[in-house]
Symmetry: none
Subunit: 462 residues, 2 copies
């Protein structure tokens, strides 16, 4: 193991340069014009995997391809543990571009951070695992397990083709656990195992008014304004206590246990720090819960975007023909996406006035996830974190959604260990996204240390 | 007078051919590449005015020139009435070109309509007045008044240089009334005097939340969503009765008189037709007023545009950093733009929650306009309309704003008689703009009959 850790220490500068190459590829999965860039990024990744000693291939899907890379297997041993590392090479759209200090696809190192779209979410994080396995392979250190990397290109657009891929490659991918670094840690001194994730449903609400934009002088006053109708619809969906005001929305929410609320209170982030980090005048959320609980263990109704009428400079005196809101709801364990979608849609249809036409387009959905923090695998992960970071790890519920984790459980029968390396100030999904180079290096060490910990059968295992 | 009317009747074919020449000049004021065409159009117009017997000149401005043409004055008589006819030779951009059945600057006659950009707005309409004065001058019929035509080239881009021109030519242009044919009539059987226009204030509301777009999974729930905060602010500004719910908004609104409401009910447009024309499921406006009253005689609060967060394809799971609404309020007589701006801003600031920061940017403003329909000049205009069209004219309030009319009052001390010749189906500002040849001819007759009616001192006048 010391050989492996020394190799990692010695090669940090090269690893960062390689990561920069990876980050230069603008793999924006949501934007059609980047289709070729996604393909190029997948090819780059597969080539890199081969260079470090893995057997890699680019698997086409109906959308963007999936890269599969494996440690070479000398002989088939059905009792040898097999773990899967999941990540995604696609990134969020970089817009608004004018808020980036340097261009999103020209990586910049400043202090102990690397800035570019996709640094923390997720190229930098899964690259740490690749570097750990490289250290094993290049130093000739035997791995105690087989590893398969599955790095997809559609995570930011709902992983539309991954579940199908898992099903059709069920035998090849069957494993003892899945390891994912795509979450966060509260700060650089608190490595974390995330034991719960929120689920999500996405949809678009469009309110249609007149057949075309109307002159607001000639017709304004006698026809409902779709932007006003939309505002009035949305306004009714959240009350002044920060609660989602949709009947039935909270029906299935599992209450937080005293133990869990205590764990959450152990976390180092104060409300004051959070307020400063986010740059808001005042925090705001569901009354009766701490900010940390609100953002991780409670469901939300969030407007992600608004579009209507004229948005250019100056003014244009129109009654717009339509107005649209992009919405996502975060869900918590026990809330079923289909049911929540139904209660939201039913309520919107109920309160929509007869002067406009409501159109609701369903987007992706995913259940929340929960894994027991006292399971042998979780305990193994906590040991690896402790040793790699030289710090006592914390347990986290994370507010984000990684829908595919539910498929890992359903299709591959495997729990997922969420060992996130991102920091709250990393600006994931925002301009000036970054990744901490300390987290990058500690992440490599954690990955290297994890495989022996996970491969030892725990007391009580068969 | 019979000589004048006979002359008009006899020369319709030539008038239409001349109008076609005028329409062929692509005087699109908004488009830089047409700067020379504007100049050429002004020169063509001045030449034409000279040919019919007027004294005409092209006056340069900082923008496009203004054409001034006068009836020849034999001797200075300070008691002889002086009227000004205002129009504009510039036209709206013709785009989208593919929706035109024939090219916008190649006039086409079909049935009783002439199709081209600028036919109804405004070349055809002020050309009718020029043909009427030509009939006087060419038949040697003495005019009972002096006339000055002021035809500008920047109406479609905000008349930026006209107010200054009025001020610097105040003495020359001082007059007893201004006549403008740049509005509409409800249909060909209802000639109309427009006695009121709505005013306007424009502004932008921006609600600022976090310092940057945030990941809605990681932070959503503990921070107010600016798009939701904006929706909740906007939602409170209009109640379910269609009334603007801003304290003080209606304070100064002059109530509609029984006489005016009766006049408005005489108008031929039905709610059913309006609903069909606009393509809405149901009309909606301030309770207690008809659709025609709502769109012309009542103030409005209109959202012209909404912008927030992610607007591209698919979804982006963010809490947006800010949300913005573009707003215009239409104002009615007695409402002062500055005061309404204040009550709107004060109320928004009052109801804005402490979790976001509100920014309000002021745009342009203009007062509403009202001329009494029972004044001697309005009555004279109604008589001319009745005689020219052989129909009982209607009184109109128009919902749009013509800011320059307020300058005529302030600078020249003159009321404006709005005697529009356009029909609702004329496609002003749209592809396939047209002008009805019946309206053109009746408009010439109305103009010819107007000058004697206006020049007779009414009972009660000095």
């Amino acid at each position: 193991m010391q050989l492996v850790l020394d190799y990692l220490k010695r090669n940090q500068a090269r690893f960062v340069a390689e990561l920069c190459d990876y980050l230069r590829l603008p793999s924006v999965s949501a934007q059609l014009q980047h289709k070729k860039d996604l393909r190029a990024c997948a090819e780059w990744l597969a080539t890199h995997c081969r260079q470090i000693g893995l057997e890699a291939r680019v698997c086409p899907t109906q959308g963007h391809p999936i890269v599969v890379a494996k440690t070479p297997r000398r002989k088939l041993n059905p009792r040898r543990p097999h773990f899967m590392v999941y990540g995604h090479y696609d990134v969020q759209p970089p817009e608004p571009l004018d808020l980036w200090q340097t261009p999103p696809f020209e990586p910049r190192i400043a202090g102990r951070s690397i800035f570019a779209r996709g640094t923390t979410d997720n190229k930098g994080q899964h690259f740490a695992h690749l570097k750990a396995v490289e250290a094993y392979l290049k130093t000739g250190t035997p791995l105690p397990c087989d590893l398969t990397f599955v790095i997809e290109g559609e995570e930011e657009v709902g992983s539309a083709n991954l579940a199908k891929f898992l099903k059709s490659h069920r035998n090849e991918l069957k494993c003892d656990a899945v390891v994912v670094s795509d979450t966060g840690m509260p700060d650089a001194d608190h490595p974390a195992l995330t034991c719960a994730l929120r689920g999500i449903i996405a949809f678009e609400i469009t309110v249609h008014g007149p057949a075309r934009d109307l002159h607001s002088g000639i017709f304004g006053g006698a026809v409902d304004n779709p932007a006003m109708a939309l505002s009035q619809l949305l306004a009714r969906l959240r009350d002044s206590n920060g609660r989602v005001a949709i009947p039935g929305f909270y029906d299935d929410v599992a209450p937080l246990s005293t133990y869990e609320r205590k764990q959450i209170r152990r976390l180092p982030t104060s409300d004051r720090e959070l307020q400063k980090l986010l740059g808001v005048k005042k925090l705001f959320g569901e009354r009766g819960f701490t900010a940390m609980e609100q953002r991780s263990a409670r469901p939300t109704f969030e407007i992600n975007g608004l579009t209507s009428g004229y948005q250019g400079p100056g003014s244009k005196t129109i009654v717009p023909a339509w107005a649209r809101a992009k919405i996502t709801c975060r869900l918590v364990p026990n809330q079923r996406p289909a049911r929540i979608r139904k209660v939201v849609c039913d309520y919107l249809r109920k309160i929509c006035p007869p002067t406009v036409r409501l159109e609701i387009e369903a987007g992706h959905g995913a259940e929340a996830y929960l894994v027991s923090p006292t399971s042998p695998q979780a305990q193994a992960a906590l040991r690896a974190l402790r040793e790699a970071f030289h710090r006592e790890p914390v347990l986290l519920r994370e507010g984000g959604s990684i829908p595919i984790v539910n498929d890992f459980k359903k299709v591959l029968g495997a729990d997922t260990l969420l060992l996130g390396l991102g920091l709250p100030e990393d600006n994931a999904h925002s301009p000036n996204e970054k990744f901490d180079l300390g987290c990058f290096e500690n992440g490599q060490r954690m990955s290297a240390l994890l495989w022996p910990e996970l491969s030892v059968p725990a007391a009580g295992d068969a």
